[in-house]
Symmetry: C2
Subunit: 227 residues, 2 copies
Amino acid sequence: MGERHAYDAGGQGMLGYRARPEAPNGAALLVIPAFAGLRAFEMAQCDRFAAMGYDVLGVDYYGDGWTAADMAEAGAAMGRLNDDRRTLLARTEAALAEIGQAGRKVGAIGFCFGAKAVLDMARAGDLDAAVSLHGIYDAPPFETVAMPPVLLCHGWNDPLATPDDFEKMAAELERHSADWHALCFGGTGHAFTNPDQAGRAPGMGYVEVSARRTWAATEAFLSAHLT
Amino acid sequence: MGERHAYDAGGQGMLGYRARPEAPNGAALLVIPAFAGLRAFEMAQCDRFAAMGYDVLGVDYYGDGWTAADMAEAGAAMGRLNDDRRTLLARTEAALAEIGQAGRKVGAIGFCFGAKAVLDMARAGDLDAAVSLHGIYDAPPFETVAMPPVLLCHGWNDPLATPDDFEKMAAELERHSADWHALCFGGTGHAFTNPDQAGRAPGMGYVEVSARRTWAATEAFLSAHLT
């Protein structure tokens, strides 16, 4: 089990979550949360990957460990940061600096808006492996340089990332990443890895079989590129 | 190791390949070849799945075990059968009848034109699990009924199945299959599972990492639905 972990992002205090492995595999991993901020679901993922040997930092991109009380609050906070993608990137890069060590590979997995943050890091040329879980694909206002290996796990009915959005993202990856692949899931919308999202609105929510396939592919992908 | 196996398809003699498991897992599997007919690559796949416990029939859809001497011959033979999708379906359904036993589940994997044949079987409501490996997605001249679980493994640069073709196929699966998913591979074109296709024309040929991901997903998918 990890513990809350304070770090700095350009003068803004961040409160993340640090899960250290008992049997290190030599690699580090950032876990970047969905738009409500770093909550129990993402911290549980940090613990799970630490148990596999990764040195894990659960990322705070809002500051002071802020989490939303409800969806409206989360949407408003996300909107502000989404309008300032360079700050979003600077904050996740501060997390990368916090976990980085010379010669050690670092991957990142992100959920929803956190997956957009992972893709922005990849676009900036950061990371040794990037995993987007039900991510949002619109490009940031900065140019994409060479991307690391990328895995997308994508619900084909995601109202926040349509088939056309997926096709655009794939074309961007094809131009910039030497190793990318995507899992596209039928009967699956947004937020499908999160059991807390069961029974939500249409186009949203947990799909057990898609979550299972996602974790199998994610674990294989991270292991191949980081260890 | 299996052996050549003669069977009948509506009066046309077929020469397939039968690989029986030493330790049966209770399920059967059809392996449907690419457009050159049933050759060493596909027979090796039959043996490999038999070693996992499947009772396997490698399918002949041309008759008398015919294989093409070269690509031009293969293209011509495929063209004739492609113009007669009902005959293609009847011939693969004869293979299904040959391997079928009451109460036993049957899956199919197909390569290229053989993947089109698998998808046509799925469209006809056949099979308990269908796997398309670098398949061709154009719909046949008969209506799709309820489809079984389907897995597509797809090279994003496949000139024979463009991103738009993929999107149409996904929409068809979304309407008819309660469990489908797809793996889309970057830097990958057609025929990527076949080591014999290394160094072929652009948009064609073996990609080791995509082949490895394909087999992992295929084995998990078949095991989940058939055993």
